[in-house]
């Protein structure tokens, strides 16, 4: 009798697998895309994807690194977490570069990795790697799922941790026994907020510090604002513009902050740092009040910190308290969300000295020492090419890049007017980032023009993702600034290693046009300036993807430059020699 009852109960509730629970939990989080690559330990998850017709699309890349860079780019543009799925062992280790990249650039990712079944963890099983151990230093947090009941809660927490406070990557390692275990359907309550005792990001700053900053502003004769990616994450561009205009504050950007302030605004000084403008770097050197909003004083920005903003009182707005005084001594710490801090600052009225003389002074720098380049006689100028792309796309395109010279030229000569149009690997400096990033960008913004500006070095690190671009017919304009070299490495060898050009020039490159064609993508070769503009215009009139191979001068260097170990005021290559 009793047996029958149990059986009846079992029949009533339909059993589902851990993978079904996982997919439901992802759906609950309104996931649009999962970038992934299948393998043994995630077979149950892929089976559930097949059976369930999930609410999100799975984007099958050709390498796990492609998946994670695409997810990073999606996160950068939408502000929503990028979701990645890979198998255990090599699948997970192939993600490592992307996880580190997302960590240092504060991109919200939720990364699901398969793991061997619990019973064999620790036995060096097939495709086993200690993913928790490997990813601990490069994640905001990580989980290994031990019980199927924990799965929905972990997913919810992971999304919360990844997206709140200072965003970052969260890894969830899912042993195969969990993803295939049968259970009654489990969900977490929709309206219950995540509460983690040890994790409560500060959103609103200490009001005393707000007063202190306004007080300093009252006395500052030479104030300057340094705006970083924190402004973009906080969606505070409008407030930043209002703040700068209200007090007539000149604004400079970090590499990752580009687009947070209109690139064509009269108060904009251009990018600061190693390859920044003279005006921006001198403003940082000469200022008496430096207001850093959402930048982390990276060494490529500050140059030698001994000489950085030597006369300035430093105010630092950051959501991560650990960034305050990490690299540069800070007198006015404002821990909080950039938008909220700026809103508070805008609420108050403060009489400030007239900054017109200071702004005039900086404008003279802009006029007298602008970015410059000389067109090489026989070869295409890469800077000129970037300017053409900027003009043709009217500065509205989303630009993704790899790392190196072309990245710096894009940052210098593509004036970003709007936020979230610039997708580049800043902190980690990951070659191979740009092409998969274009996939994430185009999926995030299907109606926008996406330019993937690459070097021939970086392109060859992840070019297999052309297959995804073709498969999905993503109208990405892939533009390779091809100098047959690792340009930045070559430049440093020329400048700092007495021209000993060691292993930085490719003696062989494939025919990128034919390569593109083999992927079913048309290719265009640009070799000379005469035809370049026309060809580029045609490229942007083409529907669908296209690869443009631009043969540029190998000898070109990125100028100006702050040499390593030097202060921002000691720039070289500011003017033509």
């Amino acid at each position: 009798m009793s047996l029958k009852v149990v059986k009846k109960q079992k029949e009533q509730v339909q059993q589902v697998t851990g993978s079904d629970i996982l997919i439901d939990a992802l759906t609950e989080q309104n996931v649009e895309f999962v970038f992934g690559y299948p393998g043994g330990a995630v077979l149950p998850i892929y089976d559930a994807l097949y059976r369930k017709k999930a609410s999100f699309q799975h984007i099958l890349t050709r390498h796990e690194q492609g998946a994670i860079h695409a997810a990073e780019s999606y996160a950068r543009i939408t502000g929503k977490p990028g979701v990645v799925l890979a198998t255990s062992g090599p699948g997970a280790t192939n993600l490592v570069t992307g996880i580190a990249d997302a960590m240092i650039d504060s991109l919200p990712l939720v990364i699901l990795t398969g793991q061997v079944a619990k019973g064999v963890i620790g036995t060096d099983a097939f495709q086993e790697a200690d993913v928790i151990g490997i990813t601990t230093p490069i994640t905001k947090y990580n989980y290994q799922v031990n019980k199927i009941e924990d799965l929905p809660k972990i997913i919810k927490e992971a999304f919360y941790i990844a997206t709140t406070g200072r965003p970052g990557p969260v890894v969830i390692d899912i042993p195969k026994n969990i993803s295939q275990e049968l259970s009654e359907p489990i969900k977490v309550e929709k309206n219950v907020k995540v509460h983690l005792q040890g994790y409560q990001p500060t959103i609103f700053p200490n009001p005393l510090q707000v007063v202190k900053l306004l007080e300093s502003l009252k006395h500052a004769k030479k104030p300057v604002v340094l705006a970083g990616a924190g402004v973009l994450f906080a969606e505070a561009s409008c407030e930043l513009k209002q703040f700068a205009e209200k007090y007539q504050l000149p604004v400079t950007n970090t590499l990752l902050g580009l687009g947070s302030f209109p690139g064509d605004h009269p108060l904009f000084l251009g990018m600061a740092g190693m390859h920044g403008t003279y005006a921006a770097n001198m403003a940082l050197t000469e200022c008496d009040l430096l207001i850093n909003i959402g930048a982390r004083f990276d060494d490529r920005l500050t140059g030698n910190v001994e000489h950085f903003a030597p006369n300035a009182k430093v105010a630092h707005i950051d959501i991560d308290p650990a960034e305050i005084s990490k690299n540069v001594d800070t007198e006015i710490p404002l821990v909080g969300d950039a938008k909220e801090v700026l809103k508070l600052l805008l609420k108050h009225e403060t009489e400030t000295p007239d900054h017109s003389e200071w702004n005039y002074h900086l404008n003279q720098y802009k006029k007298e020492k602008p970015l410059w380049y000389e067109k090489p006689k026989e070869h295409l100028s890469p800077q000129w090419l970037v300017q053409q792309i900027f003009e043709i796309t009217k500065g509205d395109a989303i630009v993704t890049t790899d790392v190196g010279q072309h990245q710096m030229w894009a940052a210098q000569y593509y004036q970003f007017k709007k936020p979230n149009r610039w997708v580049t690997s800043g902190g980690l400096g990951t070659m191979g980032f740009g092409l998969p990033a274009a996939i994430g960008a185009q999926l995030a913004a299907p109606n926008d023009t996406v330019v993937s500006l690459l070097g021939d070095g970086g392109f060859q690190m992840t070019l297999q993702e052309l297959a995804v671009i073709r498969e999905r017919n993503l109208p990405v304009k892939v533009i390779i600034l091809n100098n047959q070299a690792l340009g930045m490495v070559r430049q440093w060898q020329e400048t700092f290693y007495e021209k000993r050009i060691s292993e930085s020039v490719f003696s062989y490159n494939p025919d990128f046009i034919k390569l593109a064609e083999s992927y079913g993508i048309p290719g265009v070769l640009i070799e000379d300036e005469r035809s370049a503009r026309n060809k580029l215009e045609q490229v942007f009139h083409t529907d669908g993807p296209i690869v443009v191979d631009c043969h540029i001068a190998q000898s070109e260097c990125v100028n100006p430059m702050v040499a390593p170990g030097k202060g921002l005021h000691e720039m070289i290559g500011v003017e033509k020699e």
């Binding site: 601990t136 983690l196 994790y199 005084s325």
Partner: protein, 171 residues
């Protein structure tokens, strides 16, 4: 300078790894770490002794610890009234005839002999690290075979005299 930092943490797998990994990554020199359960279930207490260059580094350290998701509270108790204890086991070579001598020697340290064999004995001592160092020095003349120390665990005293607030950072 040497700092004693205590942290209250969620007792989750990997928390020790995450914390020590961060300390290694950021090049903090750890002298000792102790971890154990606290009065609350699921919550552990950690005590670190760390050698740092200056106050800015201490600030960085406490902030980086606080940033960890599983870390609930961090305190630098070095300059506050605190109690500190460490336990050491010291195996001393000693024949029978020296036992009584050692016994009386360790008495002022409130140490006890917890194991005796033919040619050695084990002394257990609890106290501040300096006291343990002093006892070890004293026992060296007999020949020390082995030492194991737990590293310190520490607490704020219940009563805190008014001290300067130089270590509190307002944000």
């Amino acid at each position: 300078m040497r700092r004693i930092i205590t942290a209250t943490v969620q007792n989750r797998s990997g928390v020790l790894n995450r914390v020590t990994g961060m300390l290694t990554k950021r090049q903090f020199n750890i002298e000792s770490i102790t971890v154990g359960e606290s009065e609350k279930e699921g919550i552990s207490k950690m005590t670190f002794v760390i050698d740092v260059a200056d106050h800015l580094k201490v600030e960085q350290l406490t902030k980086q610890l606080n940033k960890q998701i599983d870390v609930i509270k961090v305190q630098d108790i070095t300059d506050k009234a605190h109690v500190v204890r460490e336990l050491a086991l010291i195996k001393v070579s000693a024949s029978r005839q020296h036992q009584a001598e050692i016994q009386s020697l360790i008495l002022p340290f409130r140490a006890t002999i917890i194991d005796v064999s033919k040619d050695s004995l084990v002394v257990e001592v609890t106290g501040k690290p300096e006291k343990i160092n002093a006892l070890i020095e004293l026992l060296k003349s007999y020949g020390i075979k082995e030492i194991t120390r737990t590293g310190i665990t520490a607490f704020l005293r219940g009563y805190q005299p008014q001290v300067s607030e130089m270590n509190t950072i307002s944000i």
